[in-house]
Symmetry: C2
């Protein structure tokens, strides 16, 4: 991405001539290395202030799950793990660390497929992804791995509430992870936890440009927001674990959960 040195971004608003529909994706930099027990919401608010980006009502905060799990202490030292016989045999077959395999198995409700050095799992939450989301990157310590948050929706809710408490602002929070997907190559960022937003926008019944009523249009906006955020969130050494998306009127919901995005295999027409 392009890094610009910006002292001020001033928008002169008036009842002007031209209407521009614009959404901004702002990368939050300069957060400290997140450790167990850190108050992530507070650090995000401090970081945003320090960067001159004041959190506003209607902002969508996309947070990479790794920092959420690190703050929640959801990190495992592989040296402390005793792999089962099954994990050992799998590890050998897949050329994978047996302790890592053991952690992946413990995080899985079921195994979808194995092969090619990968274990595609159904996580405890129901997400289908490689290695049950167990991640080796962006974790301090040679032998540490980070797990998915125990309940990413609860984590998102907690962060959202704390941000409201600290700033008085009503935001949506999305916790994201980068997943591979069936049939298409490459990984994309998706939502694994949400708060304050309905992850699916239902456009059924709305009319198109020519008055034709849209038959089926259920847009997974939380996934699209997570993907948009990935464009600035550092996957490698960039150190941007949080993006603020500003200017998108998301469907509000106090109850919706990211697990709404999971389609049960038995209902799936694609596979």
């Amino acid at each position: 991405m392009i890094r610009v040195n910006v002292t001020y971004v001033i928008c002169l608003l008036s009842d002007g001539i031209v209407g521009i529909v614009m959404i901004q994706i702002i990368g939050l930099e300069g957060l400290p290395i997140i450790r167990e027990g850190d108050d992530l919401a507070e650090l995000i608010c401090i970081g945003a202030e320090g960067q001159g980006v004041h959190i506003e009502d209607g902002d969508v905060l996309v947070i990479t799950h790794v920092v959420v799990s690190r703050a929640e202490g959801n990190v495992v030292d592989l040296d402390s793990v005793e792999p089962s016989e099954f994990a050992k045999s799998l590890g050998e077959r897949l050329s994978k660390d047996p302790a890592l395999v053991e952690v992946v198995l413990r995080q899985s409700k079921s195994i979808v497929r194995m092969g090619d050095g990968n274990i595609i799992c159904e996580t405890m939450h129901g997400f289908v992804c490689a290695n049950a989301g167990v991640d080796r990157s962006n974790v301090p310590g040679e032998r540490n791995v980070v797990l998915l948050p125990v309940d990413p929706d609860v984590s998102a809710r907690r962060i959202r509430m704390k941000i409201r408490e600290l700033t008085g602002k009503d935001v949506a929070v999305i916790i994201s992870d980068t997943h591979g997907r069936p049939l298409r190559d490459g990984q994309i960022n998706v939502a694994i936890g949400v708060a304050g937003i309905d992850p699916v926008r239902n456009r059924m019944g709305e009319k198109d440009l020519f008055g034709y009523v849209l038959r089926v249009k259920r847009i997974a906006v939380a996934d699209e927001l997570a993907s948009a955020a990935e464009l600035v969130i550092g996957q490698a050494d960039e150190g941007i674990p949080v993006a603020i998306i500003r200017g998108y009127a998301y469907p509000r919901s106090e109850e919706a959960r990211a697990t709404k995005l999971i389609r049960p295999r038995e209902k799936d027409l694609f596979i």
Copy 2:
């Protein structure tokens, strides 16, 4: 999305104190209804100028396939279609217009699944999606449907070249469609044609925040850009068929095609 009346957006740049990583997604409004033979690239340039958004080097233009196909005359009047016996029997079984089923079959290389009123197809290009991408919405005329462009990469290339010719600017072009996907509910916008951009960013070998070498990180950035654009592109009556994404340093490529994003079923571990 939030519509703001903006006369000017002034960015005061200096070698300032704070560095902000920011990407903008700008919706292009006010394009005329696109008809067969229209020069879409020219209309986009005129529209951008009229809106005060000057096309810049490094912009990513995401264009919804419907306007590309309309400009290319890739629209079919269902009344002109003679459905086969198979299309008739399928239509009855799926409660679908047999002429529409006939068009869908003609656009398909193979059928993946049928049921629940849907036909999941592998298109001639190799994309797996509902109804082979044949779309009833945002097409003028009660009985008209729009097909996917014959070769969306070629369409993207043509538009990119024309924009360069008209403005002297080097942009990336992504042609998008909204697809359902396996295992996750809701549709997202994905790339079906690209020009000037490698749809996959390969981060393998890059190091994370703690010096750990990323093992597998192939990010489908073209899909993420398409999803980001959908946040402003009008799916219903909003009339925004084009988004300009500004500030994202995409991987450049003169050769890459969107078909690179297709993972052959036999190589798929997820299904």
